[in-house]
């Protein structure tokens, strides 16, 4: 069993979200220690030494991000991305609902390290319980002097503003999130400037994911070196993987990076339903290129997965078994990105819609033989020249929403071309008909 950093409290205690349980199990000791014994630079050094990469999907070094805030520029903000919406991902919701104080302590430490007085949590609108728990936890932390003015007598002020999203996947993209937080439509912005230079209200802003910041108290308590001792050469520490789909025990599993996919799926996840074979799996959320079962022995390691043409992304592993239709799965994801396209960039706004239409007619039995290449052609206008097996891709859009639709479509057509052709020649989904016959 891997050392549990993030899950320690919530796996052991049903009341892990309460301030009493948090305080009884080491909550806020890192903050106290940092304020009394450490300088902001020291906290930043420890986080840098931990080697932790952002857990939202971009794999950017957290310490490096914090460091890139320009000196002397105030006010500056910390923004927490709690707008979890990547298909297959449900780790942040659990951290918010079951251990909000761990996150709040991480936010306070981050504010301390980067010398910010104000933080915003952008909480996904649909997380009603999570929002309620965060609101309560912020009130409790303020009451006990961990937030507010002159925290723990240190002379520092830290305020957390809880913001509620309202249903838009694209706001999980950090620049769209900032637009939304400012009260506009959640449209991504061109970079540079990066948010660390000109983010919220054009001020220097650190945007971090919930899981990333939930690691910070442990790193401060145990030291960056202890964290860096976990994981692999290029992917340090633990990560929570959201395992879902056709496995017997779907759920969130905190494992050390470097663990093979096979171990996650077969040991933690209890294998595939009805003893079926794996047809394909998506290693890092709906935006990641698909893998065949031949990649099961790859390690859960950001660099390794990239070298093998995909990404670990948000840490969502979705497993499809032999009963799953590849066309319908691609349609599901492409339709999702079409629905969530903000409409700013033409290739994404128009292309995702076209791809949805093409996939719909293939799945429904009115597809034509030319549709497969047409699909690849449309995709090529969003992620030019991208071939399955390559990483990363080029893109004609500001953000990753459009190219992610291409990724799903191209993965499916490349891996399962015969199945697509069968849909066309047999005028419909062969798997559906099999099911209908069986019933």
């Amino acid at each position: 069993m891997t050392t549990q950093i993030l899950h320690a409290r919530l796996k052991a205690h049903p009341d892990s979200h309460t301030v009493e349980r948090s305080l009884a199990t080491g909550g806020y000791t890192a903050l106290r220690r940092a304020l009394q014994e450490m300088s902001p630079q020291k906290v930043m050094e420890e986080v840098k030494a931990s080697g932790i990469l952002g857990r939202g999907g971009a794999d950017f070094g957290t310490g490096m991000k914090w460091e890139s805030i320009p000196a002397g520029s105030f006010p500056r903000y910390v923004v927490v991305n709690a707008d979890e919406g990547e298909p297959g991902t449900f780790k942040d919701r659990e951290l918010i609902e079951r251990d909000p104080h761990q996150l709040i302590e991480g936010i306070a430490l981050t504010c301390f390290a980067v010398d910010a007085e104000k933080a915003f949590i952008y909480c996904r609108g649909e997380f009603r319980l999570g929002h309620a728990r965060l609101a309560q936890a912020i009130a409790e932390a303020t009451e006990r002097g961990f937030l507010g003015r002159d925290i723990l007598g240190s002379g520092r002020n830290i305020e957390i503003v809880l913001h509620r999203g309202a249903g838009a996947y694209v706001c999980g993209e950090e620049t769209a999130l900032l637009s939304s937080l400012e009260g506009y439509r959640g449209e991504p912005r061109l970079r540079p400037p990066h948010p660390t230079v000109a983010g919220l209200y054009a001020k220097p802003t650190v945007v971090n994911n919930v899981e990333t910041l939930s690691n910070v108290p442990w790193i401060v308590n145990n030291g960056g070196a202890a964290y860096a001792a976990l994981g692999t050469e290029r992917s340090k520490g633990n990560r929570i993987f959201s395992l879902s789909g056709c496995v017997n025990r779907p759920g969130n599993y905190e494992v050390e990076l470097g663990t093979p996919f096979r171990d996650l799926i077969y040991n933690h996840g209890g294998g595939i339903r009805d003893g079926n074979d794996i047809k394909f799996f998506v290693p890092g959320g709906g935006s990641a290129p698909w893998y065949g079962p031949d990649r099961l022995d790859l390690p859960l390691d950001m660099a390794e997965v990239k070298a093998n043409g995909s990404m670990l992304g948000s840490g969502a592993v979705m497993v499809a078994d032999s009963e799953v239709c590849a066309v319908r799965s691609a349609l599901n994801l492409v339709r999702f990105f079409d629905h969530e396209s903000c409409g700013q960039c033409t290739p994404c706004r128009e292309g995702c819609g076209w791809m949805t239409q093409i996939l719909t007619r293939i799945e429904e039995g009115t597809g034509r033989a030319v549709d497969l290449d047409l699909l690849l052609d449309v995709s090529d206008n969003i992620a030019p020249q991208w071939r399955w097996g390559q990483w990363p891709y080029l893109m004609t859009t500001i953000c990753y929403v459009g190219p992610s639709a291409s990724v799903a479509a191209v993965s499916a057509v490349t891996m399962f071309r015969e199945e697509f052709e069968q849909h066309v020649t047999e005028r419909g989904c062969p798997l559906r008909r099999e099911h209908a016959r069986a019933q």
């Binding site: 942040d92 009603r128 959201s242």
Partner: protein, 153 residues
């Protein structure tokens, strides 16, 4: 956005009057308020039923039977996604990945989760809701909202 939430909490949906008022408060035109409001799926621009049932249509939920749940709800309530029953009690919609794939297929009622749903559990849930009980709200210690707009309570 907080003002749009406030308006929806008051009225159950964001009315044109509310958008005008928000515009006045912020010094922007009602069209700008609509521009922001219409970007987000949770702001409702027409009245919705008291119990908003949102069935997740994410990929893992689809693999585990969410389409059957929507079909079943259509049969039980006589409404499709995007519609409200004539008596105003139920509204049905499909939502994008609800971040509960560990309990797929899942749905939400007024944004509280029901996980590992089956058609039998849906029937049970509907009869609970018809008599004003909310199967999960009470369990989570949250107050029973009387319409989806109250979800902030």
């Amino acid at each position: 956005m907080p003002l749009l939430w406030l308006a929806q909490e008051e009225d159950g949906w964001v009315t044109p009057d509310a958008m005008r008022e928000i515009g006045d408060i912020l010094g922007v035109t009602p069209a700008e308020v609509l521009g922001t409001g219409s970007f987000y799926t949770m702001y409702k621009r027409e009245p919705v039923g008291r119990h908003l049932i949102s069935v997740c249509r994410g990929l893992p939920c689809m693999w585990r039977g969410s389409e059957e749940l929507v079909d079943h709800l259509f049969g039980a309530l006589g409404i499709g996604p995007g519609q409200t029953t004539d008596d105003g009690v139920f509204a049905l919609e499909e939502m994008e990945c609800a971040a509960a794939c560990g309990g797929a297929p899942c749905l939400q009622v007024n944004y509280l989760y029901g996980e590992n749903m089956t058609t039998d559990l849906v029937d049970e849930m509907l009869s609970d809701l018809r008599v004003g009980r909310h199967p999960w709200m009470l369990q989570d210690g949250l107050p029973v909202g009387d319409h989806p707009g109250k979800a902030m309570a």
